[in-house]
């Protein structure tokens, strides 16, 4: 239905978020706050070994301990637990090990569950863990990807015969989208080759994972701190064989996920099985250390890149060879994460020949999976670092090199060498604005001046002109990538008799502010007040269809379904309005919440129609007494936000300490529904990306134990560690959805990491430095300046500071 052009009232307003009052005052219910009559508590015993055969488990003492109702081991669950799902078999011959929720014969990473206790109280459950005795036969650990795929390597899963899970290749010559990369490299005037390490990261969401399962007879309700209630319900049905229609999954308010809760977890399965077995509600909430060591990790790739170019800066080819660490098992989308990057290495550039190959490798570490950006931050980092390296090699200004190669704004829509069609973009506009806000030329002058003076504090300027693909995703594209589901989203509208509106969305917000943004969108479309709208989500009973929230898909896919449902409501109301006003539907126009008879001032509000429909006393013949509607939206294309990020970093050359002096980003996320929410997403995203550049890394020791198992050791930065961000936007509307919007959830994280590392390398390049491994710790930066080999600074056993290093006496003896 076409509606008359109407000045947009709500969309574009920086509304405070509806959901914040209950979150900030603690009045909401997180999963761990849920307490049911007769509820029992579960605790998990986890393997301290990275790789071992379980030879015996003695639970007799634990069973005798106070309050204990059940103690189970993998042997007890072997027949019922099934194998945790992997929904993304990237190749036909992909090797995928059995993935038990509780280890049965063998543990393959430190932190894997080997036994569980259910007791009357959480304290009793934890106490009883100490009454379980597990005997292990140690197996050799597999920690290094390159060694893992060498001949004769120790195997994580001996039955698979290899540590290689799969190799996935894209080649532009074979695909017919471009030339042959090896020829491009052979005939290039200049080539640059680099290997980058994408360190392993931990999503580190604030709310630890928690699950409550309530078996009320045949029906089972699960509350879980998850991003994906709908996928979880389907996968429980498929993994455990429980009837889908008897399972209800609720994701109440969820305290962050960043991809870390895009998972079907062992803990959810085990809690489900135990609650069913005992016929009582059971709760499990992980500790912070359990979360850091056993919830899935992110990144962890070795990236070898070769870029070919002419002397004038024209890029002629790009070759990307990756090793990606799967960890010990393939979780929900583990193997597909690096593959998502395949489409993004060519980024905003016109690259005539492109080759990508990725080998997925098993190690005896925590499984990896989606983490904010999932595959795209890795790609963006590598290409943006390479552009700076190529510029240095050519002696070219790095922004000029980029401009020489990027897609000009008049060239959109543009089909890339990796087969995507970018619908819109304006890299020139974003870059011009960013340069001005940053005082690019002034900072370059200061940089030169400090360098000449030999200042102990050197200045570097880092650039990242990024784009990304998000809004996952067109179902047929996912199909072509062998993904196990579609990419549509569902929405519905319920018109209540009092004129209030319930909006139902299949997206599952866990901090994004959907309740506010969806209310703004529906308020404009239906012409009802923002306050009169309630958005329902995250419960498979009230929101029966959905594919949940990840990949910056909620607005570009989820909200479009809601919008389509709203249009259906208007369409359904129209004949009733005509009936009420005794005119022809063709004479009606809808705007500002009212149907008006064209050329008159006779009108009827849509909420009045809702009341009339509720009474149903006088409806036209053959019209159903309901305005409610639902819709499912499948996008035609991804969404391609882009932007220019500029970072000024000061490097203290005496200590290697990096201080970010200023950070400017101009993002183009298309039309903005709520600028405050966009700002929040950008700020949070920047911090997470900067954290990869400077602070965070999941470190394992040589026995495969996670050394960064507390937040005293895994350095999540705070506001005190960040500069003040200067954020701005250009607005190039997307042409592939009704609102012209693009995703914003991951953009900041994807863009910022290379901007920071480029700035650091730029500050110290004159010392002969052309890379610093992430995170760029003061020691690594200082060693790079010294020109020495970078020491990994093996984790010491007796250093101070941090809980991990405390002695067992707990201090003063």
């Amino acid at each position: 239905m076409t509606t008359a052009a109407e000045p947009s009232l709500e969309v574009g307003k920086g509304r405070l978020r509806k959901e914040d009052a209950r979150l900030i005052t603690g009045r909401t219910r997180w999963t761990d706050n849920i307490s049911l009559p007769g509820m029992l508590h579960m605790a998990m015993l986890r393997s301290p070994m990275a790789h071992a055969r379980i030879t015996n488990i003695d639970t007799s003492e634990a069973r005798q301990m106070p309050g204990v109702l059940a103690v189970v081991t993998g042997a007890d669950l072997a027949d019922s637990q099934g194998s945790l799902p992997c929904a993304w078999p990237i190749t036909e011959d992909m090797k995928s090990p059995d993935a038990p929720s509780m280890a049965v014969n063998q543990v393959n990473f430190a932190g894997e569950v080997v036994a569980a206790v259910v007791a009357r109280s959480a304290a009793e459950a934890h106490d009883a863990l100490e009454g379980i005795d597990v005997d292990y036969d140690e197996l050799p650990v597999v920690l290094d990807m390159a060694e893992a795929i060498a001949d004769g390597a120790d195997l994580v899963h001996p039955d698979l015969g290899t540590n290689k899970s799969a190799t996935w290749v894209f080649d532009s010559a074979e695909a017919g989208t471009g030339g042959n990369v090896d020829e491009a490299i052979a005939s290039a005037e200049v080539t640059v080759e680099r290997t980058f390490r994408q360190q392993r990261l931990i999503p580190a969401f604030m709310e630890p994972r928690s699950v409550v399962v309530d078996p009320t007879g045949e029906q089972v309700t699960m509350w879980s701190a998850t991003q994906v209630p709908h996928i979880l319900r389907l996968m429980l049905a498929m993994t455990l064989g429980v009837p889908e229609h008897k399972v209800r999954v609720i994701a109440p308010d969820v305290g962050g996920g960043f991809g870390g809760k895009l998972q079907v977890t062992p803990e959810e399965v085990i809690t489900f099985l135990l609650a069913q077995q005992l016929g009582r509600p059971v709760k499990y909430t992980e500790s912070r250390s359990e979360s850091l060591s056993s919830a899935h990790h992110g990144r962890d790739q070795l990236q070898k890149l070769t870029i070919a170019a002419q002397r004038d800066g024209t890029v002629t080819g790009l070759k990307v060879e990756l090793l990606a660490d799967m960890g010990a098992y393939l979780r929900l989308v583990t193997p597909g994460v690096p593959i998502l990057g395949a489409f993004m290495y060519n980024a905003i550039y016109k690259i005539p020949a492109y080759h990508f190959s990725c080998t997925n490798v098993f190690t005896t570490k925590t499984p990896t999976d989606a983490y904010r950006g999932a595959g795209r931050p890795e790609a963006t980092f590598a290409i943006e670092r390479m552009m700076d390296e190529l510029a240095a090699e050519l002696g070219m200004e790095p922004l000029e090199l980029r401009e020489k190669n990027w897609i000009k704004h008049e060239e959109f829509p543009y089909t890339t060498v990796s087969t995507l069609t970018y619908d819109s973009g304006n890299y020139e506009a974003a870059t011009a604005k960013a340069k001005e806000l940053f005082d690019y030329d002034g900072l370059r002058r200061e940089q030169a001046e400090r360098r000449q003076r030999g200042d102990t504090v050197q200045l570097g300027i880092g650039i990242s002109t990024f784009t990304e693909m998000c809004g996952l995703a067109p179902s047929r594209v996912l199909g072509s990538l062998s993904y196990g589901a579609g990419g549509w989203e569902h929405g519905a509208i319920r018109m209540l008799p009092t004129g209030k509106v319930e909006v139902i969305t299949g997206s599952s917000a866990h901090g994004q502010g959907h309740e506010t943004a969806w209310s703004q969108i529906v308020a404009d479309r239906l012409g009802v007040p923002f306050e009169d709208i309630e958005v329902l989500h995250g419960d498979t009973q009230s929101s029966p269809r959905g594919l949940d929230t990840y990949g910056s898909r909620s607005l570009t896919v989820g909200a479009m379904a809601v919008l389509a449902a709203a249009d259906k409501v208007i369409e359904k109301a129209k004949p009733i309005a005509a009936h009420m006003m005794e005119c022809s539907p063709d004479d009606l126009e809808f705007s500002g919440g009212k149907f008006t008879v064209r050329g008159t001032d006779t009108s009827t509000g849509i909420t009045d129609i809702a009341l009339a429909v509720f009474a149903a006393h006088d409806l036209p013949d053959g019209v159903e007494p309901s305005l409610d509607a639902d819709a499912t939206f499948d996008p035609e294309n991804f969404s391609f936000p882009h932007g220019t990020h500029l970072c000024a970093a000061e490097v203290d050359t005496e200590t290697g300490q990096v201080r970010l002096r200023s950070y400017v980003c101009v993002d183009d996320v298309g039309k903005v529904v709520n600028p405050l929410i966009v700002e929040g997403q950008v700020h949070g995203g920047l911090v997470q990306g900067i954290a990869q550049a400077l602070f965070e890394e999941a470190v394992y020791d040589e026995s495969g134990t996670l050394m960064t198992g507390t937040l005293a050791d895994y350095l999540v930065p705070s506001a005190a560690d960040m500069p003040s961000f200067t954020t701005d936007r250009t607005e190039t509307p997307s042409t592939t959805n009704a609102l012209g919007v693009k995703g914003v959830g991951e953009a900041g994280t994807i863009a910022s990491t290379p901007a920071v590392v480029n700035a650091i390398v730029d500050a110290i390049r004159h010392f002969g430095v052309n890379d610093v491994e992430m995170p760029c710790t003061p020691m690594r930066v200082w060693q790079a300046i010294q020109g020495g080999a970078q020491s990994a600074a093996g984790p010491g056993s007796e250093s101070g500071g941090g809980v991990g290093s405390l002695d067992t006496q707990g201090g003063a003896r």
Binding site: M707, A712, A720, A793, E798, G801, A812
Partner: protein, 283 residues
Amino acid sequence: MIPAEFDYVAPTTVDDAVRALADAGEDAKVLAGGQSLIPVLRMRLAAPTKLIDLGKVAELRGVREEGNALVIGAMTSHYDVVRDPLIAEHAQLIAMATSTVADPQVRHRGTFGGSLAHADPAGDLLAPALALDAEMVVHGMDGRRVIPASEFFVDYFTTALRQGELLTDVRVPKYTGWHAHYEKFNRVAQAWSIVGVAAAVQVEGHTIQQARVGLTNMSSVPVRATGVERALIGQEATPEAIKAAAEHAVEGTMPVADGNADAAYREHLAKVLTSRAVTAACG
């Protein structure tokens, strides 16, 4: 996680606390601000059977003057130390170092005595206590004894406190008119020191008359940089002189390697940070 079960008492006087500690025997632990002990209990790295909470012992809180010394109660919180006017006047170094500890939440709960008794080599208050020749006043069933800081810190997380002894006060000689600086090097704002340098100087005209320098996290215990002190005394406070003196900073240290720094880097940092701390102190 959830700590193992323990008994809990909260005495209100030092005498009662000492008796409670003696009665409880080997498996008792003193609870001060809990900022180090509670995480250890929660992770079940320790399972004491009884906690003696000092939180209600009013006489252990606060700062007073006693002749030429300040007496800082063991239970004085970091927050109170940072704002105390007597410490600001006579032992500025301690306030400066304390202001770098963790974040406001931890500083409201954590205590001066708890930090010293905990003896984490990365703790920021040990080096200032050592550099300023503080004395630890301890009470046990056998009465009171006084332990100089130079003998108090024995090893990683280990002090000269005997079983059944409480740290009650810390006596710090007055350094009225001295200038001080604590140079802390870490990776994120709320983290412990990778290396820290505590410096206090008395300067007349441009000449350094006296100097006290202590190092954080350069050994299993805090280290007094006596070589640096000797090299500074009597020198003009010039960049060259300070830099030359700072070269002595690694004498007597035994730095470890951990995820943030190897030994060589720590040694390098000790020199650079010593130079910066002394320069800042000299103003």
